[in-house]
């Protein structure tokens, strides 16, 4: 077993073997008498129980190194052999990663042999040089009206779903993965799936979805299950993104990366940080949570002169449903918009239950319009959003003073909001709507309102697309 592991986790095993650990603190081993461990170096740990684990050097000084154990740490004793490998954590990449399933240490869990040929890549990645970024501008059709119509996704964007447990965020992500296409190109996305701290049923749900559509052939999954070691959650998204970078920027594919649940990642980071005795920030999360998350999310993008792209669609559940919790808060500060799911809509049977008002796609403006989607898209989206927010306001007021207390105009907006939710937002899990269909539906619900109310749409557009002028 060790030999096999060494082969694919570590390219060349060098360095010395140390015997004995001064202290084991959570997932951290403190080694004495170590000459010169490199910062971030991979260590192999051979326990007395005969099992062997992988670790990383988190802090190193002459004489002492702190090693973080990945994998199961139960059963470790101070009498343990530790081998420093002389290299940082790298994975081997070739086209063979497609169609495969790995765990959070990049060991195959699909019963097939490990990836044996190809290049070694550091999983931390290197920052994309900002001057080499191409500003994202290709519209991705997800086939989901509320996303395509109001919060359009573009290639190279990072657009998370903010949810709470119990809502169908996994279904939304699976539907996006299944349906996403860039129009006029016929080429499809490769999908990289990072499951972080997932329950088995959730992981199975995704794999089943991919199998069902044959997408499994052009997909790589890196899955860390809920009962896998928490510290491996720190590696899982990085391994997934390293695979994605290879597929995108070496092989020229358009890669959609789905990561769920990023909240589990943050919990793991907190655990490790507190084991190291670092000064905690808000709610015990480390002060560098923002920068750490940024090193993950900023790996999305399009690079000048390269063919591929990485589009990131992460999912996170907001602890306590609280938007101000550090995890959604810091994520929102990094990503290019967010799609909120709402308990209220879901309990009314609306799927996907997207909470319109706080949702936003910041890169939408560059991806839509004539030649990309349709000339009316921007105006229609603005008007729908505006009308819906009035409708919601009317609904709130009606709760206080009753519907009869509303003015005629307000009542009309109230009706609009209802129609909008049931005809535009609501759709089937297997329903794939083209952008034209989405926009036409938008016009249809909008036609409830008198034409004078459509102040966000230029006259000429109304005359061209409003159902009244079209039939």
């Amino acid at each position: 077993m060790p030999d096999e592991l060494l082969q694919y986790v570590v390219p060349k095993v060098g360095g010395k073997i140390y015997r004995g650990v001064r202290e084991i603190r959570g997932s951290l081993l403190i080694l004495d008498g170590v000459e010169e461990a490199a910062y971030d170096e991979v260590a192999l740990i051979f326990g007395k129980d005969g099992r062997e684990r992988v670790g990383r050097v988190l802090d190193t000084s002459i004489g002492t190194a702190i090693v973080q154990v990945l994998g199961d740490r139960e059963g470790l004793e101070t009498d343990t052999l530790v081998k420093l490998t002389g290299t940082t954590f790298k994975i081997r990449l070739s086209e063979d990663v497609l169609g495969r399933v790995f765990n959070g240490r990049f060991e195959p869990v699909d019963g097939l042999p490990p990836v044996l040929s190809g290049e070694m890549r550091e999983i931390t990645g290197a920052p994309i040089n900002p001057v080499m970024r191409e500003y994202p501008h290709d519209f991705v059709q997800t086939g989901i009206s509320v996303i395509d119509g109001l919060f359009s996704l573009v290639r190279g964007q990072k657009l998370p779903i903010f949810s709470v447990s119990g809502l169908p965020h996994n279904m939304v992500a699976a539907q996006v993965a299944r349906q996403a296409t860039v129009r006029g190109e016929g080429e499809q996305f490769a999908v990289v799936f990072a499951g972080i701290g997932l329950r088995k049923t959730e992981a199975e749900f995704f794999l089943e979805q991919f199998r069902e559509t044959g997408a499994i052939e052009r997909m790589t999954a890196v899955i860390n299950l809920a009962d896998d070691p928490a510290v491996e959650r720190l590696m899982t998204p990085r391994i997934a993104l390293t695979v994605a970078e290879y597929l995108a920027f070496d092989l020229g594919m358009h890669v959609l990366v789905i990561m769920t649940d990023m909240t589990n990642y943050c919990e793991a980071l907190r655990e490790v940080s507190s084991a190291r005795g670092e000064i905690p920030g808000r709610l015990g999360y480390p002060g560098y949570l923002y920068s750490d998350l940024a090193t993950i999310y900023e790996r999305a993008g399009v690079i000048k002169g390269r063919k591929g792209s990485i589009t990131l669609f992460p999912i996170l559940t907001m602890p306590g449903g609280d938007l101000r919790h550090p995890i959604p808060d810091l994520t929102g500060y990094i990503t290019e918009g967010q799609i909120f799911l709402s308990q209220e809509l879901y309990s009314q049977g609306i799927y996907p239950p997207v909470n319109i008002l706080p949702s936003l796609s910041r890169l939408m403006k560059a991806g839509i319009g004539p030649g990309k989607t349709r000339e009316d898209h921007r105006y229609l989206a603005d008007q729908l959003y505006d009308a819906y927010s009035r409708g919601v306001k009317a609904r709130d007021l009606a709760r206080v003073i009753g519907e009869i207390g509303l003015s005629e105009r307000m009542r009309r907006y109230l009706r609009f909001a209802e129609e909008f939710e049931s005809k535009f937002v609501n759709q089937g899990f297997y329903e794939n709507r083209s952008i034209e269909e989405t926009l036409d539906r938008g016009w249809e619900v909008l036609s409830i309102l008198p034409e004078e109310e459509l102040v966000r749409i230029p006259r000429r557009i109304i005359e061209k697309y409003h159902p009244k002028y079209r039939s």
Binding site: E35, E36, A37, A38, Y39, D40, E41, D59, T60, S61, I62, T88, T124, G125, A126, P127, I128, N129, P130, V131, M132, R133, E134, Y135, P136, G156, F249, E278, I279, P280, G281, R282, G287, Y288, Y290, S291, A294, T295, E298, R299, K304, R324, P326, D329, L330, G332, Y333, I334, E336, Q338, L357, P358, L360, K365, D382, S389, V400, I401, L406, V455
Partner: protein, 601 residues
């Protein structure tokens, strides 16, 4: 002096501890490890020194060498800064891309200013002249927009012994030789300045001229003065970056230094796409020719993010000293403060508030204090300014946190962005009740002199109207609007007009991206005069419903986007007034031009 070399004893993320250089100085630049990673000494003690390393430290090992340079962390100043993009320690990112491809790799060494490029230098001094610090020795047309004034560095003086003839030189070739106490000092177009020290100037001047940015809510209600300091706090997605981008594009600044510290790569890409395409209205030249971008995005090394602020402001001061009005933008200072916090934590410093070290307020103060309008050192006499604008990203959008609190102590203007307004897509989402400007009273004089003598009255009245309207709205949300008395409904109507027609400015394209002061004035005048006349009508028993039916109300909300600009506003103004007169006539009342009262709720 022999090589001053030590070795690493410990590595903790971006902070490396080393020993073996006896005379190491605080702030000294060192090269760390076999690859020679750039670092700066941030703590010196008897047995070790600590280094903040500006590049990724993974793979470094104890005992690797550390080489001291004897130099402080400096900015390289000279022609070749404009139009370029640097990281937080002034490495030119285009050059790095040319060398190592699309990903930033560590250990790459490239000079900040191009060494082989020749600039056409025209001397402005002659032999035998006595020169002091800051004197201009010659000029270079750095870009078609900006003449670069080459100056004697702030710490040198002497008599001109030699002057190079007009011609093309690199930044390293001497163009003037000074003689001072028998020693010759060659001056070239490049000079250096330690980034953590403010550049000296002769005297501070008052900041009394507004920096016009073309956004109505900012210029009219919460102006910032040239040489002033402003902060723009707001939760995520409230519009900090869009507002600052627009200011960097449209504001009437001569030079813009934009520091993207700890923010998104795609936002830098967007600027780099737009800046070369957008023309300066006066000269027709692309605005990239007056801009310098420092991009240390959120995924680039945290310690270089800490340095980026100082790098940017030093460059800004350098152009100020040449006699330019510079706008320095930092997005986001909160990410910079977090970098300060992270390094302090690694050094084991005592945290005081939310993990921030006790010196955070001093650091924030020092940064904003480096702004200002000054008379520069040297001849010919020059006045320049640095206006500092910083985004603040408070956790959870809650302003009650250390970075926001301390920032507000040191700035004169706050543009408070509001999540509710942003959700309603009311942009710029500047909360008109929470924002403030201490420059308003001073720059009002500029408006009085250059735009209209009665501007201050209109401004105050509009603010009052908005304040009262927010109180009435609170009541309306409980009882419904139709239950309110007519005069209160009129206040709501007028505030709607001001919000939609004046405050709201989408600013993405078209006529409304930059609103000229005259137009701002006329829009506001139209709305307030409308209110005053309508108020009189209501007091004379005309119903508010009748006024609400006027089609001009909708026009007042839209006219800001009319391509005919000011002319369209004046034309509408005439029609609105005529309409109200018509109503008056119909009801047999006469309108005196009295100001309407804004009664509180």
């Amino acid at each position: 002096m022999g090589e001053r070399k030590g070795f690493i004893v410990r590595i903790s993320g971006p902070v490396v501890f080393a020993k073996g250089v006896e005379d190491i100085k605080l702030g000294e630049v060192v090269y760390v490890g076999e690859e020679g990673l750039l670092g700066e000494v941030v703590r010196v003690s008897r047995d070790y020194f600590a280094i903040q390393v500006y590049e990724d430290t993974s793979g470094l090992r104890p005992k690797e060498p550390v080489t001291a340079t004897g130099k402080l962390l400096v900015a390289e100043l000279g022609p070749g800064l404009l139009g370029r993009v640097f990281d937080g320690v002034q490495r030119p990112l285009e050059d790095i891309a040319a060398l190592v491809g699309p990903f930033v790799r560590r250990g790459v060494k490239v000079p900040s200013l191009p060494r082989n490029k020749r600039w056409h230098f025209k001397p402005t001094v002659s032999r035998g002249e006595k020169l002091g610090p800051g004197d201009v020795i010659g000029v270079v047309q750095e870009t078609p927009l900006i003449e670069h004034r080459v100056m004697v560095p702030p710490n040198l003086s002497g008599t001109v012994k030699e002057v190079a003839p007009e011609g093309d030189y690199t930044v390293e070739e001497p163009v003037v030789v000074l003689e001072s106490n028998g020693t010759e000092i060659p001056l070239c177009m490049k000079q250096e300045w330690p980034v953590r020290q403010p550049r000296p100037y002769r005297e501070r001047l008052p900041s009394d001229v507004p920096l016009l940015v073309g956004q109505r809510v900012l210029d009219t209600f919460f102006p910032v003065a040239k040489g002033g300091a402003g902060a723009i706090p707001g939760g995520f997605g409230t519009g900090k970056t869009v507002t600052l981008h627009k200011i960097s594009m449209y504001s009437l600044s001569q030079i813009v230094v934009y520091i993207g510290c700890g923010e998104r790569g795609n936002e830098i890409a967007e600027m780099l796409k737009e800046f070369p395409a957008l023309k300066d209205p006066k000269t027709g030249r692309p605005i990239i020719e007056r801009s310098i971008v420092i991009a240390n995005t959120s995924n680039m090394p945290v310690s270089a993010r800490e340095a980026s602020i100082y790098m940017g402001i030093t460059i800004a001061e350098y152009y100020r000293d040449q006699g330019y009005d510079v706008t320095l933008i930092a997005d986001s200072t909160s990410r910079w403060a977090e970098a300060v916090r992270e390094i302090a934590g690694r050094l084991g410093e005592l945290p005081v508030e939310r993990g921030y070290p006790a010196y955070l307020p001093d650091k924030i103060a020092e940064f904003y204090e480096r702004g200002g309008r000054v008379k520069a050192l040297g001849r010919p006499e020059r006045e320049g300014s640095v206006t500092v604008l910083g985004a603040v990203s408070p956790p959870g959008g809650d302003f009650n946190e250390p970075v926001t609190i301390h920032t507000l102590r040191f700035v004169g203007t706050m543009w408070a962005l509001d999540t509710d307004l942003a959700y309603r897509r009311h942009f710029p989402a500047v909360n008109w009740l929470r924002s403030f400007s201490q420059y308003a009273d001073i720059v009002e004089r500029w408006w009085v002199r250059n735009v209209a003598p009665d501007f201050p009255q209109y401004r105050r009245k509009a603010l009052r109207l908005l304040t009262v309207a927010s109180e009435i709205e609170a009541i309306a949300s409980v009882v419904g609007e139709s239950a309110l008395p007519d005069d209160q409904r009129l206040i709501l109507l007028a505030s709607e007009i001001i919000k939609e027609g004046f405050l709201r400015q989408t600013a993405l394209e078209g006529e409304d991206v930059f609103c000229k002061p005259e137009k701002q004035y006329w829009l506001l005048k139209m709305m307030i005069d409308f209110y005053d006349k309508a108020y009189e009508l209501i007091k004379k028993r005309v119903s508010v419903e009748e006024i609400m039916r006027l089609p001009e109300i909708y026009e007042m909300m839209q006219v800001k986007e009319d391509e005919r600009g000011l002319e369209a506003v004046k034309e509408l103004y005439g029609r609105v007034m005529a309409r109200l007169e018509e109503i008056a006539k119909r009801h047999g009342v006469t309108l005196e031009s009295k100001a309407g009262v804004i009664a509180g709720a």
